[in-house]
């Protein structure tokens, strides 16, 4: 049987014409994560440790929609969320509404391991993060120029978008009905 791993960086309307400068950094991160994960699994790390390790790497990549690079709410803020679950014990932890926590997945794991609960959100989750001493940053740390532009376009089109919805050409309204 042996170990096995799979990871994703989001699904959506990803055009085959995606330019190399937007495609390659994301693929490079996937390859790096796969290398990290396989090395960890070969050295005997647990599945739980490996999924947290990989998701932290993906959160730290500004090209993906988690952690730094998270997309913006209608108010131009970030509200990040994460979850983790251990299959053997069915223990799980989840967090929502984070605006300062660098690695939401690790806070979710702390919810699982350090509290009698499953899910903490918004100010309660932020307070728990402070109590646990996890790394935090000013909310501006997570906001990229690319995502400011995506929000501007989404507001212009008056819609919400999944991760890889492409910009709408100014002279084309065919994709917004």
């Amino acid at each position: 049987m042996g170990w096995a791993i799979a990871l994703h960086g989001g699904a959506g309307d990803i055009p085959r014409s995606l330019p190399p400068d937007r495609r390659e950094p994301r693929l490079a991160t996937l390859r790096r994560c796969l290398d990290l994960a396989t090395a960890a699994l070969r050295s005997g790390s647990t599945a739980l440790d490996v999924v947290e390790l990989v998701v932290r790497e993906l959160e730290n990549c500004p090209h993906y929609n988690a952690g730094v690079g998270s997309v913006l709410t209608a108010d131009g803020t970030v509200e990040m969320e994460a979850a983790v679950m251990d299959g053997n014990t069915m223990r799980c932890g989840a967090v929502s509404g984070l605006s300062t926590v660098v690695n939401a997945v690790s806070l979710a794991r702390l919810v699982m391991e350090k509290t009698p609960h499953i899910y903490l959100a918004f100010h309660g989750a932020e307070a728990f993060a402070r109590e646990q001493g996890v790394e935090t940053k000013d909310p501006s740390h997570f906001i990229t120029e690319a995502n400011k532009e995506r929000l501007r376009q989404a507001k212009e089109a008056n819609r919400v978008q999944v991760d890889y919805t492409q910009p709408i050409p100014k002279d084309d309204n065919s994709r917004i009905g």
Binding site: M1, G2, W3, A4, I5, A6, L7, H8, G9, G10, A11, G12, D13, I14, P15, L18, L27, L30, R31, L34, A37, T38, L41, G44, A47, L48, V50, V51, V54, V55, L58, E59, A66, S70, V71, A74, E79, M80, E81, A82, A83, V84, M85, D86, G87, N88, C92, A94, S96, A104, V105, A108, R109, Y119, F122, N147, V160, Q161, D163, T165
Partner: protein, 130 residues
């Protein structure tokens, strides 16, 4: 959204998912990622992490449905379970990665593409988008 599922050499399964949600979402909106059983689920049979439109994934309890099919349909492969669940969600709404206790890996989606990668001790190694 980003996510990862794994089974280690001792047979332990785990999943994790993290996201910023949707562009232009309402303040206070919660998606599928932290809703256990919707975007994230693992038991002794499989581990699943989903991505896509959270509201659709919650409605279809995507991650738990894959596990339920594995639990209740005899001899169903992980690939078939995932394909059946994804096919039941409106097109363009969902993708997922999953691993089973037997070491199967599947990466299914009904969107244009999904950034994804997988590897197994048996030598499978894939990185893809479309």
């Amino acid at each position: 959204t980003v996510g990862c599922v794994a089974i280690d050499s001792a047979g332990n399964l785990a999943t994790a998912t993290s996201t910023g949600g949707l562009v232009n979402k309402m303040v206070g909106r919660i998606g599928d990622t932290p809703v256990i059983g919707a975007g994230t689920y693992a038991n002794r049979l499989c581990a699943v992490s989903a991505t896509g439109v959270g509201e659709a994934i919650i409605r279809h309890t995507v991650a738990r449905d894959v596990a339920a099919l594995m639990e209740y349909v005899p001899d169903l492969s992980l690939e078939d379970a995932a394909a059946r669940v994804v096919a039941g969600v409106p097109p363009g709404k969902v993708g997922l990665v999953a691993v089973s206790a037997a070491g199967e890996v599947t990466m299914a989606y009904n969107t244009t593409g999904m950034f994804r990668a997988c590897a197994t001790e048996g030598g499978r190694h894939e990185v893809g988008i479309w």
